[in-house]
Amino acid sequence: MRILLVDDHEVVSEGIALLLKQIDSCVSVFCAKNYSKCLAWLAREQCDLILFDLGLPDCVGIEALKELKALHGMIPVVVLSGQDNLETIHAALSCGAMGFVPKTSSSAIMFSALQRVLAGGVYVPSETMQTLPSKISEYPNTAKSEHQGTIACLPVAATELGLTDRQFDVLKLLIKGLPNKLISRQLDISEATVKAHVSGVLRVLNVTSRTQAVFLLSQKGVLLSEA
């Protein structure tokens, strides 16, 4: 698995790269120190995941994230940031991020979060879910497990969620942050069909938006299996 880590602090990049290697030794980690270097690298090379810091010196975090998703929609992006307030997390997820790992988390949580991300799941800090005005906050939370340092991660198949295969495929791509256009291209269906499927998926999950779906999957510790 090839990971591009975009962070302006070398020490932190090294620390995270080390953690990633420990989780999975086959991972190759590439580092970029700022946004322009990140774009330049992506123009030449491929990767499977981008870990993106919002506090880069040469751009405005959220705007850069939007641009990044617009240019490279196929690659999932997980945001790292020192700011872990609700607005930032919401904004990051609305822009298509597949997860949010606050830099203020303990190293144990960072480890588990990255573990989940590498396995293809989503991670959102549980603290924010308690303050969400939406209904997600009422779900039984996994705070206990987080404090003990392990977040369970369970692979789940389409039938367990109550989705058709097609819907499941759409969900997987939706969670990765792909815009509708790319999903339609990937699955070879029309954009209108994609929209209808997305709506259906969200209805089954009992949420109303992609952001909420991400929160839900993170909270339940769900991994969409590549069956």
């Binding site: 969620l161 929209k195 709506s199 992609r210």
Partner: protein, 634 residues
């Protein structure tokens, strides 16, 4: 006394940068004041001429008064422009204009020479004129002419004294001729007058100088204050920069250290090394905690924290605290109890958590045997709740009970408790409490224990209809034999499967509804009602707001409930048509409208239609019916 006043004034000497500015202002004020005197002086001159017309040679009088005009010209060469109208007139005739505001000090000094000259010559005119007139005046006039001259001198004092050089010159030139003339007369009456004139001269000089000093000191004080303010602003900016730097850059190496230590732990096996790394990890943890505390304190002091006020169920906060401190308390063999409560308060969740956390942390830290209790109880008339943290620790002596809140203050400790922290936990709690507008109190008895309490207002927006959404998770769509509960390592249920359909009578559970009405109370009421039935609701007061909200959610709405008349001239039908066009074709619609248009509306539309006021049960019934019909047909 003068000396003490002078000393007090001298304290406010401003720095050199301001000195030239002050000079400019002084001169300008003097010039402006001088300008004010032009008309009165002319008036008085003419009156004098009229008064002395019969006694003094007319030609002399005429010369005397016409001398006024060149002096006026000379004055204007150096004075600032009176008004913009005259300014335009002067520029029309290409007269030179003196822009005092933008000129340098040297230039202004040049101009002052002109008007000082003008003023001096003017004073000369009065002084010599008066002395000359004495020779021809009648006895009565002879008595009064000195008074007139002295009068003119006194009148100018209050205005000209602002600029001392001009002032001294003016007064001397004004008084001297008359004093000399009177002194040389040899007449007793005139000598008396001379004496009075001398006294007046002295008085005017002293008064003028004092006035000038007062004025100067005002200016100096203002300058000094401005200087201090600029310094304070620079300091604040520096502090903000420090905060920003610390939050971002200084934090990173500390954070990275934690990561490296974690990585190291996972790689080593030898027990002595593990022990060593454990110690390193503890130190790093302390360092991180203390650093975060310092940063929090800085942010609170700098006012850099935004309060995010919302309804916070205390049970959530208590749960977090329990998770955080249960093991620590157990390790120290202390009893950590929580009295659970179902109260919801109005506060900032992060700050509230921090305050209570600091109380509990202190309680545990300073208690060697016994325990800590966290409780909440309603006080007053049910509007407030008091969160209390009791401990059976050493207690705080009476005279230190306010001091414990000071920064970096820690009680003197002979028992050498290891982890004492920096002594800013309570400071942070106090500042945060102040920021939130709550109040906190401490009670303590030496040797028995302490109680820290925080008064928080109860959230008054308690839903009329309790939200029951906990039951609308996927776990509740389980009906039928397809349930699969996979227990996980720590006992959390995975996604249970669904297959069966929910009951037909309650389609509102989990439904996504759009409510549009320009009456806010109607929207709120409908929203609460539907949410109590388990729906997700988005609202808008007009078409554009509704469309904007829809854009934020990728899921299509299951039901649209809208008023017939919306703000901005659009009808509910237009909005519905737009949604059907742009989002999805077959979303069921429920139109609600007031009585005035009921009948005509009923004929026009073929959507389900209800007339206001709508009872809760009717609304729910209609909504369910629509959703049911739609579900069956799709």
């Amino acid at each position: 006394m003068l000396a003490s006043i002078r000393k007090r004034f001298n304290r406010f000497r401003a720095s050199p940068e301001y000195a030239s500015e002050i000079s400019k202002i002084t001169i300008q004020s003097a010039a402006v004041q001088g300008r004010l005197g032009i008309v009165p002086e002319l008036a008085v001159s003419m009156l004098c001429v009229a008064w002395l017309w019969d006694s003094v040679p007319k030609s002399a009088l005429v010369i005397w008064i016409t001398l006024y005009l060149p002096l006026l010209y000379l004055f204007f060469l150096g004075a600032p422009i009176p008004s913009s109208r005259i300014q335009r007139w002067m520029s029309h005739y290409n007269w030179r204009q003196n822009d005092y505001h933008n000129a340098s000090l040297q230039q202004i000094r040049k101009w002052t020479r002109y008007f000082t000259l003008a003023l001096t010559l003017g004073a000369l005119r009065w002084g010599l004129g008066g002395a000359f007139a004495l020779a021809f005046a009648t006895p009565v006039q002879q008595l009064l002419i000195p008074f007139v001259v002295v009068g003119v001198g006194l009148a100018s004092a209050s205005t000209l004294s602002l600029y001392l050089p001009a002032f001294y010159l003016y007064e001397t030139v004004n008084f001297a001729p008359i004093i000399v003339r009177l002194g040389m007369s040899g007449d007793a009456t005139q000598w008396t007058l001379c004496g009075m004139a001398i006294v007046a001269f002295g008085a005017v000089l002293i008064a003028g100088r004092r006035y000038a000093t007062l004025y100067q000191n005002n200016l100096h004080t203002l300058a000094a204050l401005k200087h201090e303010r600029d310094k304070a602003e620079l300091a604040t900016q520096a502090k903000s920069r420090f905060l920003a730097m610390a939050s971002h850059d200084l934090r990173q190496p500390i954070y990275a250290l934690g990561l490296f230590v974690d990585a190291l732990k996972r790689q080593i096996r030898a027990p002595e090394v593990v022990q060593l790394v454990d110690r390193i990890e503890t130190s790093v943890h302390f360092m991180e905690t203390m650093f975060n505390d310092l940063l929090d304190l800085s942010k609170l002091s700098a006012g850099a924290i935004e309060v995010d006020r919302r309804s916070v169920p205390l049970v959530d906060v208590f749960k977090e605290i329990e998770l955080q401190f249960a093991s620590t308390a157990r390790a120290r063999d202390l009893d950590f109890r929580i009295r659970w409560t179902d109260v919801t308060v109005e506060s900032d969740p992060k700050l509230l958590r921090q305050i209570i956390r600091n109380f509990v942390s202190n309680g545990i830290r300073y208690t060697t045997k016994g325990g800590v209790l966290l409780a909440a109880r309603k006080i007053g008339n049910g509007k407030m709740v008091r969160v209390e943290v009791w401990d059976t620790g050493r207690g705080i002596p009476q005279d230190k009970q306010q001091e414990v809140f000071s920064e970096f203050f820690r009680l003197n400790d002979k028992n050498h408790i290891d982890d004492r922290g920096l002594g800013i936990g309570l400071t942070i709690a106090q500042r945060a409490t102040a920021l939130l507008g709550h109040s906190l109190t401490v009670q303590s008895k030496l040797g028995i224990g302490s109680c820290f309490s925080l008064n928080v207002p109860i959230a008054n927006e308690v839903s009329v209809f309790p939200t029951i959404v906990a039951n609308t998770g996927i776990s509740d769509r389980i009906k039928g034999p397809f349930v699969l509960n996979v227990p996980m390592a720590n006992g959390i249920n995975a996604f249970p499967t669904i297959a069966g359909s929910a009951g037909t009578s309650d389609r509102l559970k989990g439904a996504f509804v759009l409510v549009v009405d320009d009456d806010k109370t109607v929207v709120e009421g409908t929203r609460l009602l539907l949410q109590s039935r388990g729906s997700h609701v988005i609202c808008g007061s007009n078409a554009n707001e509704a469309m904007a909200k829809l854009a934020e959610h990728e899921r299509f709405v299951d039901l649209i409930i809208t008023d017939y008349d919306l703000a901005g001239g659009t009808t509910g039908l237009d909005l519905v048509a737009r949604i059907h066009r742009e989002v999805c074709e077959d979303i069921p619609v429920l139109i609600v409208t007031g009585t005035s248009k009921a009948s005509e509306v009923r004929e026009k539309i073929d959507y389900q239609f209800l007339q206001k006021p709508v009872s809760a049960s009717r609304l729910v019934e209609a909504a369910n019916a629509l959703l049911n019909k739609h579900c069956i047909s799709s």
